[in-house]
């Protein structure tokens, strides 16, 4: 069988093109291609070379429209046994091609050419074309003449013209030879035989039969020559005769041959016009051709020779003729029949040709899978031949099938469709991929077939000695089908990969990646240490404007902006190393050694650092790949470059992403990362990265260690943060702000220090102090876990505040015209997390209000009410142990109104705390001159030490808070807040009162400070405000407000008896104080009533004296005290803020302890008084009672 046959093949003159001498292959191909332009020589062009020697047998030659066709057979071909049957199989001309520079001796060229021509017995015309002759050769050659044609060196156009002339000459010569042959043939009755005819001697009957047939065969042959001579009408005439004769003699084989010729003549005559009628005619005649070839099958010759090849060729010719999409069904039928014939073919090479042709025809038809199937059959036939050339052929044929089986090498894909590749990448970059497009990626993935094909490619490549192809095939096989390959098979492939790599030069690149699978793990944005902030040129706080556009998450105005927030943008800085995390997976059963892996950056402005990774079987690993941007511009990172198994390959993230998508759709066998035990990752989109010029880089460090700052609750401490410029550009602008939780725990930042250090040159360092105050641990946490562990955890949760330091380098020179606003270099943000670890400190248990009721003794001096005891305390104000006075009570003064706030504190920690309470006294001089000495003083209490796991109580005296005056304005709020006087409050302004009360309480509380100290350098303040407030809430009125009336008793000196009183006291030297009273003496006394309000108070005063038992001992039946003066119902009016004295005398009959109390019934009380007294109804009398005073009566009974 012959390849590439078609119906028109019968009309082609076969010309052998043989190289004479040494012709470089490139040049030979070049010369051959020049010849190929002259495959068709029009008859009109050769008329000048043609001379009619005798009358032409081609009577109907179409000189104006016809042409001669050539088929150039490079390298020639051995004579076919069938060339008598089909004259077009004869080599009718020989063209030698000689490259003169490599064969200087023209004589030897002529000799060689003649030798070469001797092999082609049927050849009618021989020419030897010698290209590029030297001058001497030109001279020499022109003498030689004959068949040697010299092509003088010239430009290509000239040479081609020259060649065309030569070809026309050859065509003319051939035409004349054909004429001669046809004229000679007719009378002689040339003997034509085919291998099909019996080779043995013929018996008589057969001889007669053969003679009869000879005429028909001669006619057929003449028809062939007519066709070759380009005269279809003449050919047809001969064929018609031949058909008639062959039919009569039953020469089916020749009948079929003649019929084939007639179809060819028909088509040549129609000059390629294909209408339905011609097509129908061709189809009809060819079915007859096929039928007759089949009929000519002779069983006895079947072993030796068979007309089957002709039948198949005829089938293929018809199929090629019909090969159109519309007639696919018919063509398929023909080709299927042809394929069926393959198993009857004796010669393996015939089968090869048949399959090749079938594959080509299916390919033309658009049936790629069918074509691939037959191509693979061809490859298998080649592989059966078991030699290197056949293996190369097999490999090449298989490479053609890869597209249909979807196992192409990436190199071929990118060559085939660069456009398609780009769309794919853009879709992948879009992040979301439509389901349909994912599916299309995995369309026709028929893994069984793909594996077989790849394995065959690998086998053929190994046999053909093409290590790169072998490597690529093994890589594709391993990467795509590892789940279907046994561990042993995987190992074998790994060995194949290394073996192939051994034969490759180092540094070879292959388009098909092998292992490992690489996906983007994360694209670390800038660490908080080197965050980049867009600089808003227009604003003073340049870091603010760029990011947020308002309080809304979504604004319709930002939608149209090109910088959509969905697409991450990343800025890298020239010279600052960056890192990208990728995950590698080795799902195979062998140790994978990745010699080097680094980011592949086609944009070229990035220096990637390679790393070596070793992946154990079935494992995945996250690897940090780093590099340094080298120049300004955009950076794209499509994947990684991997040097593994001795070959450098490009691994694209997009491919793996698609693979993983396919795995989720159930389209891919397995997810390589999942089978390595790695968790599913969210699809990470590659941000668009741009590189900007160098920026300053601040690096922070907490002086004294980077560990967490451990503080007890409420502790106040200074820390120092050192900032250094590690960049190459000075820092010119700095702003420090706070963020995060517990911002109030940062009391102060010395940002002025920082500002004053500007500009911070590269390498310069500045240290700024920051004052911290530890916050309180939330109660729930303290309960949940005791002590440290809880609080440490707590601080790690990000409870600590962070310092945000926005800084920027110099602005571009404003005067420089080349810089406009858009290229303001961005600023940066340094986030300094203050890792504060708050330990539980002292814990507050409860607060209680205690009141002390120790009556005062009546003495000579007036016991000073607390708020007016200036004179007595004056000396003590300055003394450090002022609090002692509170504790050690002056007996004459008593402490009736004294109230203590008792704080119970416990220490659950492991350190010792010392507590000191201080009360800051308000400057109240503006209110009253009496309290002038209290401004801005502090009462320091002695320190209380609380050991670990102990608790202690701290008392805070509250007496100093009493107001001097029961003031209307102040009282309003007090009254209002007190729920019990709701009915009375109608006359007062109800607004703001609650708040004002709270404010006053807060004011009070804020003056109480409980400080603690632990160890040498940790100290702080206990936050007990809330607890104190709760404790004080109910009785705040009593603490803050004075009674409307205060009563004091004293021994009167003005009376004449005073001396008497004093004398014995002093003379006796008794322990009894000077305020003691002697029994059986008249003791003059005074009661002083002070009005604390700003209004006149009318009242009726009464004084009572009681003994120890509490019995009234003045007016009862067994009175032990006699009195002179009025003690009851003393009506008096006390002007506002004034005192009134009332004198009386007592005579004590029995020594002992007595207590005096004064009480007053206020008449016509106003609302303030009523509110203070918390009366329920307006007509209820207000009774005001003073504290009891003790009188110690000495003497004998």
């Amino acid at each position: 069988m012959e390849p590439d046959v078609s119906i028109e093949t019968s009309s082609m003159i076969r010309v052998a093109v043989v190289p004479i001498g040494h012709v470089p292959p490139v040049l030979l191909r070049d010369y051959h291609s020049m010849l190929l332009r002259h495959q068709t020589i029009p008859l009109s062009a050769i008329s000048s070379f043609y001379t009619e020697h005798q009358k032409s047998p081609f009577a109907h030659q179409p000189w104006d429209s016809g042409s001669l066709r050539f088929k150039f057979v490079l390298g020639g071909a051995p004579p076919s046994p069938w060339e008598d049957f089909q004259s077009n199989r004869k080599i009718l001309a020989v063209i030698g091609i000689c490259h003169c520079p490599s064969s200087p001796d023209l004589d030897s060229v002529i000799d060689q050419f003649e030798t070469a021509c001797r092999g082609y017995s049927a050849s009618l015309v021989e020419r030897c074309f010698a290209f590029c002759p030297g001058d001497s050769q030109l001279e020499d050659g022109s003498k030689k003449g004959g068949n040697l044609m010299l092509f003088p060196p010239a430009d290509r156009a000239t040479q081609e013209f020259h060649l065309q002339t030569m070809m026309q000459d050859i065509a003319a010569s051939l035409l004349m030879k054909f004429e001669k042959w046809v004229l000679k043939a007719e009378p002689a009755g040339t003997i034509v035989k085919t291998p099909l005819d019996s080779q043995t001697t013929l018996n008589s009957e057969e001889v007669i039969k053969a003679k009869k047939r000879r005429l028909g065969r001669a006619q057929k042959t003449m028809g062939d020559y007519c066709l070759l001579a380009g005269s279809p009408v003449d050919a047809n005439l001969h064929y018609t005769t031949a058909l008639e004769l062959a039919r009569l003699t039953g020469d089916f084989f020749w009948y079929a041959g003649a019929l084939e010729g007639s179809v060819c003549a028909l088509l040549i005559d129609r000059m390629g016009q294909k209408d339905a009628a011609v097509e129908e005619e061709v189809r009809y005649r060819y079915s007859s051709v096929i039928l007759h070839y089949r009929k000519s099958f002779i069983q006895e010759h079947a072993q030796r020779v068979s007309p089957l090849t002709f039948e198949l060729e005829a089938t293929l010719k018809l199929a090629r003729f019909l090969c159109r999409r519309e007639l696919a069904k018919e063509v398929v039928e023909l080709l299927t029949n042809a394929a069926d014939g393959a198993k009857s073919l004796i010669d393996a090479s015939d089968r090869l040709v048949l399959y090749v042709e079938i594959a080509r025809l299916y390919g033309t038809l658009g049936y790629q899978r069918k074509a691939a199937f037959f191509s693979r059959q061809v490859a298998q036939l080649y592989l059966q031949q078991d030699n290197r050339l056949a293996a190369i052929s097999a490999m090449q044929v298989l490479a053609m099938t890869t597209k249909a089986y979807r196992v192409q090498s990436k190199a071929s894909i990118s060559e085939d469709s660069p456009g398609k590749k780009e769309t794919g990448s853009s879709v992948a970059e879009g992040g979301k991929m439509l389901h349909q497009s994912v599916v299309s990626l995995f369309e026709s993935q028929w893994s069984t077939l793909q594996m077989v094909v790849l394995r065959e490619i690998l086998l053929s490549a190994v046999r053909a000695g093409d290590p790169l192809a072998a490597w690529g095939a093994a890589a594709r096989l391993l990467r795509s089908y590892y789940p279907l390959i046994t561990p042993a098979g995987q190992n074998g492939l790994a060995i194949a990969l290394s073996n192939s790599a051994d034969r490759l030069p180092s540094g070879t690149r292959c388009a098909d990646p092998a292992l490992p699978f690489i996906r983007l793990y994360s694209f670390p944005l800038h660490s908080s240490q080197m965050d980049i902030v867009k600089r808003n040129h227009a604003r003073e706080d340049w870091w603010a404007g760029a990011a947020n556009t308002g309080p809304f998450i979504y604004t319709p105005f930002s939608k149209g902006e090109p910088s959509n927030s969905s697409k991450q943008e990343l800025i890298w800085i020239v010279g600052e190393p960056v890192q990208i995390l990728v995950e590698l997976a080795n799902p195979c059963g062998f140790d994978l050694m990745v010699d080097s892996i680094y980011l592949s950056v086609p944009s070229g402005n990035f220096d990637a650092f390679p790393v070596t990774v070793n992946l154990p079987p079935n494992s995945s690993k996250v690897v940090t790949l780093s590099g340094i941007p080298t120049s300004v511009g955009p950076v794209t990172i499509p994947g990684c470059t991997v040097h593994c198994f001795g070959v450098i390959t490009e691994h694209l993230f997009k491919d793996v992403d698609n693979l993983l998508l396919g795995a989720t759709q159930g389209l891919v066998l397995s997810d390589p990362f999942r089978c390595c035990g790695s968790a599913r990752l969210k699809n990470i989109s590659v941000p668009s990265i741009s590189v900007v010029p160098p920026l300053p880089l601040l690096v922070s460090r907490v002086v004294g260690g980077d560990g967490a700052i451990i503080l007890h609750e409420g502790e106040i401490r200074d820390i120092w943060i050192s900032l250094a410029n590690a960049g190459t550009v000075p820092v010119e602008q700095v702003h420090v702000s706070l963020s995060g939780k517990h911002q109030d725990s940062v009391l102060s930042i010395a940002s002025e220090t920082l500002k004053s250090a500007l500009p911070l040159r590269p390498g310069a360092e500045v240290t700024i102090p920051v004052t911290l105050k530890a916050w309180r641990i939330v109660l729930a946490d303290a309960d949940a876990a005791t002590g440290r562990s809880a609080s440490v955890k707590h601080s790690k949760d990000g409870n600590s505040p962070t310092l945000l330091i926005h800084y920027a380098g110099p602005l571009p020179n404003a005067g420089d015209p080349s810089t406009n606003k858009s290229v303001v270099p961005p600023g940066r943000r340094l986030v300094v997390p203050l890792q504060i670890c708050v330990l539980q400190g002292l814990s507050f248990v409860k607060a209680r209000l205690l009141s002390m009721e120790i009556p005062a003794q009546v003495g000579e001096n007036l016991p000073k009410p607390v708020h007016i005891d200036n004179s007595s305390t004056e000396g003590a104000v300055g003394t450090p142990n002022k609090m002692d006075r509170l504790v050690k009570i002056d007996p004459f003064r008593g402490s009736w109104g004294l109230r203590f706030l008792e704080l119970e504190l416990s220490n659950p920690t492991e350190v010792v705390f010392e507590i000191s309470v201080s009360v800051q006294l308000e400057d109240s001089s503006h209110e009253h001159s009496l309290s002038v000495d209290r401004d801005a003083t502090e009462y320091g209490c002695p320190k209380t030490r609380i050991d670990r796991d102990c608790s202690a109580r701290v008392l805070i005296p509250l007496e100093h808070f009493k107001l001097p005056v029961l003031d209307d304005s102040f009282f309003v709020k007090d009254n209002q807040a007190d729920g019990t006087v709701g009915s009375k409050s109608s006359s007062f302004s109800e607004r703001n009162t609650k708040a004002e009360l709270n404010a006053s309480i807060k004011n009070l509380i804020s003056r109480i400070k409980v400080r603690w100290q632990s160890g040498r350098n940790s100290s702080g303040e206990l936050n007990i405000k809330d607890a104190v407030q709760v404790a004080l809430q109910t009785s705040v009125m009593d603490i803050l407000l004075p009674d409307p009336l205060t009563f004091c008793f004293r021994l009167s000196r003005t009376s004449p008896g005073t001396a008497n009183i004093d004398l014995p006291e002093e003379s006796n030297g008794q322990v009894a104080s000077k305020g003691s009273v002697l029994a059986h003496e008249m003791t003059p006394m005074e009661v002083m009533v002070r009005n604390n309000t700003k209004e006149l108070i009318k009242m009726s005063l009464s004084v009572a004296c009681r003994d120890v038992a509490g019995e009234n001992c003045v007016e009862c039946a067994k009175a032990t005290v006699l009195c002179s003066g009025v003690l009851c119902g003393i009506t008096m009016e006390v002007p506002p803020l004034e005192e009134i004295k009332h004198s009386f005398s007592l005579y004590f009959l029995v020594p002992g302890e007595y207590s005096m109390t004064a009480a007053a019934m206020i008449e016509d009380a106003n609302d303030i008084l009523r509110a203070r007294a918390r009366t329920k109804s307006s007509d209820e009398p207000i009774f005001c009672r003073g504290p009891p005073y003790h009188v110690r009566v000495v003497g004998t009974a």
Partner: protein, 136 residues
């Protein structure tokens, strides 16, 4: 029962979602591969043929050597049921296809089955093999 029979379901994306060698002949790997290659190549013809008829059963669509490819195309998703066989039992093949189609629809109704993905149900496999024994 046919000596050679290879049954394959090809999804609309040309991905085989089920494959079974159901012939009685001894199983050989290279033969099984050849069967799949033939079936794969026949997809080209099925693709054209499916639009020329309203019938789902396309009868024998292709052949290679002695092996015949019969095809059945579902109407809804253009899923192709293809059988490579060496028998000429047309009615049996038709019934086989119809029954398998029914099985396939039942599989599709399974909410956990993603259409177009591989059918891994062993129940399906057992049933198909039983049907092959019955009809082929």
């Amino acid at each position: 029962m046919a000596t050679t029979a290879c049954f394959i379901i090809v999804s609309r994306n040309d991905i085989p979602i089920y494959e079974a060698e159901v012939g009685s002949a001894a199983k050989r790997e290279d033969a099984a591969q050849l069967h799949q290659f033939i079936l794969h190549a026949a997809l080209d013809i099925v693709q054209d043929l499916a639009w020329t008829t309203s019938a789902m059963y396309l009868k024998a669509v292709d052949r290679f050597n002695d092996l015949v490819v019969s095809a059945y195309v579902t109407a809804d998703t253009h899923t192709r049921l293809m059988l490579l066989h060496d028998s000429r039992n047309d009615d049996g093949i038709k019934s086989f296809f119809q029954e398998v189609h029914e099985l396939y629809i039942k599989t599709l109704l399974n909410p956990t089955y993603l259409p177009g993905s591989r059918i891994t149900s062993s129940h399906f496999d057992t049933k198909v093999r039983a049907l092959a024994r019955k009809y082929l």
